[in-house]
């Protein structure tokens, strides 16, 4: 496989001020993308992931049930997990069945498959500050091995402050619909993620050090700007990971 094609993209940033600072279009959580029965119980992580994923599928003009999905997140369902850990230390702590099964890293992936009635494989991936490049690499490998199209969602809700002081904020999600090879109507051509020394834009270094999933900002900015061939840094550290892209210009 020579490249992947980006067919659709969506971004969700619930914090208004942060959203206004982003160099590409992003939206608040769209509760219409969450099935009514799940709305009350679903986490910020899941609501953002669904919002971004639905927007990307609409942009790509693909039904969400059409392809496999990869959900990538540094901390997964951290607020639900935090609530359970808090209950576990109390003598009379209560663990609810739904709280427990909604604490797994593949909660968003599982509910997405249920909500879309999608029986294709769904994965949940985590790689700390390398979560974005490893998610893109997993997407590359799936498309190179099996062809077709897939949905990649990268997201993290805010983390309780005491877990990792100074990190885990602001919440953000983005979703990409990707196809194997060079496909007509693509927004961007994306190469295989590679180890490298591309410099992460200084303007976003503080943000990504605070919230690792924001490493997607330069890539999403490049999609929006639509420029020609360039190399995009996928990690704030060097040596790190990078990817060659070619926009529609």
């Amino acid at each position: 496989m020579e490249c992947m094609s980006l067919l659709g993209v969506g971004a969700c940033a619930p914090d208004t001020e942060f959203r206004a600072s982003l160099p590409f279009p992003a939206f608040d959580i769209n509760r219409d993308t969450i099935p009514p029965l799940l709305r009350r119980r679903s986490s910020q992580a899941m609501q953002m992931a669904f919002s971004a994923a639905t927007a990307a599928c609409e942009k790509a003009q693909r039904p969400p049930s059409a392809f496999p999905a990869i959900f990538a997140s540094v901390a997964g369902e951290i607020k639900t997990t935090d609530q359970i850990c808090t209950e576990l230390v109390k003598d009379d702590g209560v663990i609810s069945p739904a709280g427990f099964h909604n604490s797994v890293q593949n909660t968003a992936a599982g509910y997405w498959s249920i909500a879309q009635q999608c029986t294709q494989p769904a994965s949940a991936l985590a790689a700390g500050s390398d979560t974005l490049p490893m998610a893109l690499l997993e997407a590359w490998c799936q498309l190179a091995c099996q062809g077709g199209e897939l949905l990649l969602v990268c997201y993290d809700e805010t983390w309780p402050e005491y877990l990792d002081p100074g990190r885990g904020n602001p919440a953000f999600a983005c979703a990409l619909v990707l196809a194997a090879g060079a496909v007509d109507g693509r927004l961007m051509q994306i190469g295989r993620p590679q180890a490298g020394e591309a410099i992460f834009p200084a303007a976003w270094t503080n943000s990504v050090n605070s919230m690792p999933i924001l490493a997607a900002i330069p890539l999403l900015e490049a999609v929006s700007a639509g420029k020609g061939a360039q190399t995009i840094a996928l990690t704030p550290h060097t040596p790190g990971w990078q990817v060659d892209v070619r926009g529609w210009e």
């Binding site: 230390v89 069945p97 593949n106 999608c118 390398d130 690499l137 091995c145």
Partner: protein
């Protein structure tokens, strides 16, 4: 009928495992042959109900001081497995041969280092502060023990965690095979690691799935599951002349039930799809499968779903068994741990038994192996792992 495979097979050049079934693969093999349960009362922490667990009670090694921030029970289980039976030397050989940047690492885990996080929360509850030596992204987040192993071994290739509950490390094998098939790596270390913790014990108890006694997979009188812990390590490399004598991972089939977060599809549709997909990717026919290592947790819904899946896919089903009555359900590690069990069956020539089985459920329209069968040498094995979210994976393995 052998069709051409869609994905290239990979060689399993080394494997190791630490669990309640033993500290290494030799001890695990002895446990599989003895077929006597290793499940015992929990000693690691207190829980407000009765059960038996598959706890690793032998001492765990200390984490080196330079990697102290990663210290947690999960990392220690992984380190223990790494230092069994010369496994570390196999990884070092792969690094010397291929270069550190060409050796990747995929971890499958469901709860990572959360046992240690729970201890930190106890301090938070008491003192209002997390302990100074608690590092969230080096202990609790899913990739933590992957990063530890990568630094411990000096690997520089791709490194990430798959965390899809109880299918995690079966899917890690799938991701590793793809890294090799796409030439992103020459070797990939797959680690399936999960430790006992309060969250899963009490979580599964809230779902009323925990058995008070040793579990009885596929038995008419099954009463639920026992949780275990373990670390299984597998080194995958591209097939070459020098590893032609090693067993092969042919393919991993994956699917989603799209049914319910914590209950499997009643007819096992997703489970059957995962098994069929493994066969399709490998270009093999169902009639070629010699043995199925069942997920068989001994929860009623899971067992019946899987029994129907096997019945629907195999006109003449091969012998099947489930090993969780021996050392428990190792959750995110189960896919890798039971792949190791299946590799032992391939390499040493036997069919594992189903510890705890007395009367097979009549829904099992296939031979359920109760006692280990030493007269059969399987050559093609499917090993199943199914998780929350209806997340299914089936690993297809072949003898050298």
């Amino acid at each position: 009928m052998t069709l051409s495979p869609i994905i290239s097979p990979v060689a399993v050049t080394a494997y190791q495992c630490v669990s309640a079934g033993g500290d290494d693969v030799e001890a695990l093999y002895a446990s599989l042959i003895a077929n006597q349960t290793c499940l015992k009362p929990l000693t690691l922490f207190a829980i407000p109900f009765d059960t038996l667990v598959g706890e690793v009670t032998s001492p765990l090694p200390a984490i080196r001081s330079s990697l102290q921030a990663y210290d947690c029970r999960n990392a220690r289980l992984a380190l223990k497995a790494l230092d069994q039976g010369g496994f570390r030397a196999h990884v070092e050989r792969a690094v010397a041969k291929h270069g550190a940047a060409r050796v990747g690492l995929i971890l499958g885990t469901s709860t990572s280092g959360i046992y240690d996080s729970e201890n930190a929360y106890a301090r938070l509850h008491q003192d209002g502060l997390m302990p100074d030596d608690f590092y969230f992204t080096k202990v609790q987040t899913a990739q933590a023990t992957a990063e530890f192993l990568r630094l411990e071994l000096g690997l520089q290739g791709p490194c990430y965690a798959i965390s899809t509950a109880c299918s995690s490390s079966a899917k890690a094998l799938a991701a590793a095979q793809r890294l090799l098939a796409t030439d992103c790596c020459d070797a990939v270390l797959v680690a399936g690691v999960d430790s006992l913790c309060r969250l899963t014990l009490r979580g599964f108890n809230s779902l009323q799935l925990i058995a008070a006694e040793a579990c009885r997979p596929m038995d008419t009188e099954r009463q639920g599951i026992n949780i275990g812990e373990g670390a299984a390590l597998l080194l995958l490399e591209k097939p070459r002349a020098e590893n032609a004598d090693r067993p092969r991972l042919l393919a991993v089939g994956e699917s989603s039930d799209a049914h319910h977060m914590s209950a499997p599809h009643p007819d096992g549709v997703g489970a059957a799809t995962a098994m069929a997909e493994a066969l399709r990717l490998a270009g093999r026919d169902a009639s070629e499968v010699d043995y199925i290592n069942l997920h068989a947790t001994a929860s009623t819904l899971n067992d019946l779903s899987e029994a129907r899946a096997v019945g629907s896919l195999f006109p003449n089903p091969p012998p099947c068994s489930g090993v969780k009555g021996l050392f428990g359900h190792t959750l995110g590690a189960a896919g890798a741990v039971e792949t190791v069990v299946s590799l032992l069956a391939l390499e040493r020539g036997f069919l594992p038994g189903t510890c705890g089985l007395r009367v097979p459920d009549p829904e099992c329209r296939f031979p359920v192996v109760a006692a280990p069968d030493l007269q059969v040498s399987p050559r093609l094995i499917l090993s199943n792992a199914f998780g929350f979210g209806g997340n299914n994976a089936s690993v297809l393995l072949e003898a050298a």
